[in-house]
């Protein structure tokens, strides 16, 4: 049982949870994720760890409403408990001093990007961060990101905040202006796909953190498999970060939609139970 200590609504569909998980709080490193199961009948879903407090023994998760499980979680409150949390899983981000690092986050991908930005900054890099979302109210963790970034660029699709345009435009602005040694992108698959295409044009080594469907998270099932450089890899044990220029994002997007029909049905059923 893992108690929810704090819940903060970022927007109607995005929430930040601080949850008790003392062992994971100590063991986790930037890039790690957990697998949770809300209740006995719940499914197992992966969520990246945004931050942790070793003293309080808590981890922070940022959750966006996309299906039944996330909708149920958004309905949970401080004091409620999550039945199972296992982790930290995946290989941590390889953080070292490389020079200038361009970090790009889209949507809730900004949450897992935060510890990575922090890590690269602390390792002595110049860190430039691009945050992107559809509109102003969907930009999250801006203040925290600003703290660890030498420069922060905000892009919104509708121009309601920061600059109007896509994440790739923000990235390109930086790349054409100064030398970038490494790029890290986290966000929806489609965003990572185009971000990867952008950095490839300029031959900048780029990592993407993949958020595939998972079951066990320990390499046992292969639900999380993706093609990287033509080879099948398991995101939960070989990743979650991979060379973004080698990832087959189209295949990944199809696999992410594997259970769309079932999910829609289940979601409708769920809505009936809460209304």
């Amino acid at each position: 049982m893992n108690k929810i200590i704090e819940k903060e609504l970022f927007s109607e569909n995005v929430c930040r949870f601080v949850v008790e998980a003392p062992e994971i709080a100590i063991a986790r490193k930037p890039g790690n994720f957990i697998i949770l199961r809300l209740d006995k009948k719940g499914e197992r879903i992966p969520l990246t760890i945004a931050s942790a407090d070793t003293e309080k023994g808590t981890i922070t998760l940022v959750v966006q409403r996309v299906g039944v499980t996330t909708a149920k979680m958004l309905n949970m409150n401080e004091g409620d408990s999550i039945l199972d949390i296992a982790g930290p899983l995946g290989k941590p981000t390889h953080i070292e001093k490389v020079g200038t690092v361009l970090c790009a986050g889209g949507g809730v991908g900004v949450a897992p990007l935060l510890p990575i930005v922090e890590g690269f900054k602390n390792a002595g890099n110049r860190v430039i961060t691009v945050l992107a979302a559809r509109s102003k109210d969907l930009i999250i963790l801006e203040k925290e990101m600003r703290e660890f970034s030498d420069e922060l660029i905000v892009m919104t699709d509708d121009g309601s905040y920061g600059k109007k345009g896509l994440v790739t435009q923000g990235m390109e602005e930086v790349i054409t202006r100064e030398k970038v040694d490494l790029s890290v992108v986290i966000g929806p698959a489609i965003m990572m796909k185009f971000a990867a295409l952008t950095t490839k044009k300029y031959n900048i080594k780029t990592y993407a953190s993949l958020n595939t469907i998972m079951v066990d998270g320990t390499g046992m099932c292969g639900a999380c498999r993706v093609s990287v450089g033509g080879k099948t890899r398991f995101v939960c044990i070989d990743g979650p970060e991979f060379d973004a220029h080698e990832v087959d994002f189209d295949e990944m997007m199809q696999r992410l939609g594997a259970f769309k029909e079932q999910e829609t049905e289940a979601y409708e059923r769920y809505l009936k139970t809460v209304s």
Binding site: E23, I24, A27, R37, K41, G42, E43, R44, V68, T69, L83, D84, I85, A86, G87, P88, L89, V215, D216, T218, G219, M220, C221, G222, A223, R225, V226, S227, K231, T232, F234, I237, E251, Q254, R255, G257, A258, F259, Q262, E263, A266
Partner: protein
């Protein structure tokens, strides 16, 4: 070995055994036909998840027990990987002492109700039975009798909790809660150790829970065994991935003196053929885990799984058989098993093959997939298969399958399950530097003590053997428990 032979002889010459032997002539015993295990009707059962085998009645068990000749040289025992005193437990059944029979089983086998259901007896004890070897008759139904005695004990509510030695306040960690881990912790707790089992998943039991389906091994049966271990004082720590949640060094700091690694052969293999990552193509582990552990076929549970009219399963082992029979139960019109060799080479248990055929599973032997096609959403729609023929025997001793050029054809499919084997789980090996590994990724251990190249780490089960069996995993766990005990008494406590 000498001692064991002596011991068996002594046991055999006890008055009650003598008397029983004399109560019926050998000729009479051998003239009894093997009692048939009652089964659910094939058509009916192919639409439900209830157990296929219904278990022997008391009368049936007693009749079957009468067949056993209580041989002076019980070859069956050497066919059992954990050397159960088979004639003794069978004679207990003949003597109507069913609880006594269960007790005999438990002397060497921590999970008799499980083994009675899933052991490949036909290549183990029953294959070494006097009936098979000398009389060329159908062997004593040792597995069915084992199951009977264990079930009788469980249903009686009088489960014997073994005696536990005085607590010695020494902490031992068991990593993984499959049959290897459960057998190890059962013995360690009896020796007085303070035992904690760490399990990565949210539930305890390993393959017994997430792999083997309900209709072959109900989870409830595994849970009773686990509950017993809990009563004996074993602590279970689920959602704990050793090497991730905490390192071995951290556990050493917390006072764990020795470790048993029973982390299994988790990693599923794929064929790496075009289209294999299409939606609707699963590893057998994923398919079975969704259904068995996560209850995907129960609408009350959130985990989804695909069903379809035509489901193809690739492989010929137990896992393939479990998957294909599950697909049928989920309502597939055609559930096809595609295997690249012939039926004679299939590694699956005979009983599974028989049951599968009765349930209407299509067997497509000497065929192998070469590619998959998907629709615009990425969902698999077709597979291309190639015909095979058998050539010379390969390293495994089985005849090598050779593709027949130009024999490819298409099958329309909705779901595909790849069940071609697993590789050892790499989590522990990666997390423990210096651990000596084989080139197949298994942990190298001393065969007697199960000790690895790192003195306080012992290992057994699939992580040592690659894919093996429940009973071999349990045998390893028990040997490792003895090895750990020896190591702690001789090295640590001195």
């Amino acid at each position: 070995m000498e001692n064991i032979a002596e011991y068996l002889k002594e046991e055999r010459s006890q008055p009650w055994r003598d008397e029983l032997r004399k109560s019926m002539k050998a000729k009479e015993r051998t003239s009894i036909e093997r009692v048939h295990m009652p089964e659910q009707d094939p058509v009916e059962r192919s639409h439900n998840y209830l157990e296929v085998n219904l278990g022997l009645t008391e009368e049936m068990a007693i009749t079957e027990a009468h067949r056993c000749l209580d041989c002076p040289d019980p070859t069956c025992i050497s066919g059992c990987p954990v050397n159960i005193n088979i004639p003794k437990f069978i004679k207990k059944i003949e003597a109507h002492d069913f609880l006594g029979a269960a007790k005999v089983l438990k002397e060497t086998n921590a999970l008799p109700a499980v083994c009675g259901r899933v052991c490949p007896q036909e290549v183990q004890c029953e294959n070494s039975c006097f009936y098979t070897v000398k009389l060329k008759k159908t062997p004593i139904a040792i597995g069915n009798l084992e199951r009977f005695a264990a079930d009788y004990e469980r249903n009686s509510g009088k489960i014997s909790v073994p005696e536990i030695a005085e607590h010695n306040n020494t902490k031992v960690a068991v990593i993984g809660s499959g049959p290897a881990g459960l057998a190890a912790c059962g013995d360690l707790i009896k020796m007085g150790y303070d035992v904690t089992v760490f399990e990565a998943l949210h539930d305890v039991g390993g393959v017994l829970k997430y792999g083997i389906p309900e209709y072959r091994l109900p989870n409830e049966i595994v849970d009773v065994e686990i509950e017993n271990l809990r009563k004996m004082g074993v602590k279970f720590h689920t959602n704990f991935i050793v090497g991730k949640t905490a390192s071995l060094d951290m556990l050493r700091e917390q006072g764990y003196t020795a470790f048993f690694v029973g982390s299994g052969a988790g990693l599923p293999r794929f064929m790496n053929i075009p289209g294999e990552n299409s939606v609707g193509i699963y590893s057998s582990n994923e398919y079975l885990t969704r259904i068995n552990l996560m209850h995907a076929t129960d609408p009350d549970y959130d985990t989804p799984v695909h069903d379809g009219k035509t489901v193809a399963i690739i492989g010929g082992g137990n896992t393939a058989m479990d998957s294909v029979r599950t697909a049928k139960r989920m309502g597939a019109k055609r559930a096809i098993l595609i295997y690249r060799r012939s039926e004679a080479e299939m590694p699956a248990r005979m009983e599974e093959v028989k049951h599968a055929k009765e349930e209407g599973i299509e067997f497509m032997t000497l065929h192998n997939p070469v590619s998959y096609e998907a629709d615009e959403k990425g969902r698999v729609t077709k597979m291309v298969v190639q015909k095979m023929e058998l050539g010379e025997p390969d390293a495994s001793g089985r005849r090598r399958p050779i593709p027949i050029e130009g024999s490819e054809f298409e099958i329309e499919v909705d779901v595909v399950v790849v069940a071609i084997g697993v590789s050892p789980n790499p989590l522990i090996p990666h997390a423990v530097p210096g651990l000596e590994m084989s080139r197949w990724g298994t942990i190298i251990v001393d065969k007697e003590t199960m000790q690895s190249s790192i003195p306080d780490i012992f290992a057994g089960g699939d992580i040592v053997r690659g894919g093996a069996t429940v009973i071999l995993a349990m045998g390893d766990g028990r040997r490792a428990a003895a090895g750990i005990h020896k190591y702690i008494t001789e090295k640590v406590k001195k």
